[in-house]
Amino acid sequence: MSDHHHSDHAPDNSFTSDQDLLLVRAVAGDLDALDEIRQQGAANPQLIDELAMWQFDELRLARLGRQLDACADRAEISDERRFFGRSPRLGWAVAAAIAIAWIGQAFLPRSPEQRVSVAGIGGAMESADDAFDKYIERAREEGLVRGDVAPPTLVGSRELGDGRGFEVIVVRQIIERRIAPEMYRAARTGESGMMRPKVIRPRTDLVQ
């Protein structure tokens, strides 16, 4: 179905006969339209046949609709377990659940046995995760990191296929605060009007 691309607001220039419009109203239960078809049907029995077929389609659609309703009623938001980990396949829900579990593990304090020393960096930096944790802690003390570090955002996941587990790709965001002695803005200079960086220095009168 989606192979066809149509805009909702595209003009509908295709020809539609008055007879089809009458049948649409009749199938929707418009009594006047049904009367009209009965009258016209005396001279044109094919119209009555057509109505019967359209009503048959309506019944089949309604039957599919009942099955679809049952399907929709199974999709429940209030049931957290179902909502976050329902699909038997490796879809988004499973990926999200894996990511949540992984993220939970990643933020657990690691035991000394799990720490791997990196030569030349010193005992304080045992692994990349430890280094990251230490950076956050130190940066907070120095006022470089503002607020809490947002939980990682899941970008994607895939099963590794060799039984080792899943590869989970996440984005970690850190809001940093830095002091810059000067900044630059693009400005047109000279007759050529070429864009060049122009230094902006802080106003000293504010300091006084």
Binding site: M1, H9, L23, V24, A28, L64, A72, S78
Partner: protein, 215 residues
């Protein structure tokens, strides 16, 4: 399903009627939803999920799993409902979320088909697909015939016939004039007739071939 929930589900078509009382109740519910009230979000979901399923059927490829797509729309409702400006734009927003989810599924299906074609040249055995687990044969055939109708026409037809929405309600949801909806419905029903005729003609040819083979 409890009685209250069933009442919400069954009333989802009537919830389109924008009377003052309904609008006031909807506005209050929306305000709670925007604040992230989990119960309110669940209530909004229950009141709208059936017509959302209908929109998904109109726009998604036939092989797409409506269950999965519904979960995607529900997830977006939970995580992004605070982006919706007001109660009156909620349904339009939900419809766009559903249409986008269905189109993504169509793209994925297209990529999957291409991948399967490549894989078929290497390992034909992995091409065996599991049969659909939910739809009965008659409904499967109906969905196949619907899939031959472009979504522009299929959507109003499905919303009217499966969800019982009036032409005015469909026009409001799709934000197009009512007369346009009537024209699209007529076109959709004519296309459906044609699709049925093609299937029946195909069966007739098949039967003729079988008879020919036995003679």
């Amino acid at each position: 399903m409890n009685g209250k929930q069933q009442a919400v589900d069954e009333g989802c078509a009537s919830s389109f009627d924008g009377g003052d009382v309904a609008s006031l109740a909807e506005s209050r519910l929306f305000a709670r939803t925007a604040e992230g009230d989990r119960a309110a979000i669940a209530e909004v979901w229950r009141a709208n999920r059936r017509w959302i399923a209908a929109v998904l059927v109109a726009h998604a490829p036939r092989q797409a799993d409506v269950d999965d797509l519904l979960q995607e729309v529900a997830a977006t409702l939970v995580s992004k409902c605070h982006h919706v400006r007001d109660a009156s734009s909620l349904r339009g927003w939900l419809r766009m979320v559903a249409v986008n989810a269905a189109r993504m599924a169509a793209r994925s299906a297209s990529i999957e088909r291409r991948s399967l074609r490549v894989m078929a040249q290497m390992k034909p055995a992995i091409l065996r697909k599991e049969p659909p687990e939910t739809l009965s044969a008659a409904n499967e055939e109906m969905r196949e015939q619907l899939s031959r109708i472009p979504p522009l026409y299929a959507e109003p037809l499905i919303l009217q016939s499966m969800r019982g929405l009036s032409q005015r309600q469909i026009a409001e949801l799709l934000d197009v004039p009512e007369t346009t909806i009537e024209t699209r419905l007529a076109r959709a029903r004519r296309m459906l007739r044609q699709a049925v005729a093609e299937v029946e003609e195909g069966r007739g040819n098949e039967a003729t071939q079988k008879i020919g083979a036995t003679l």
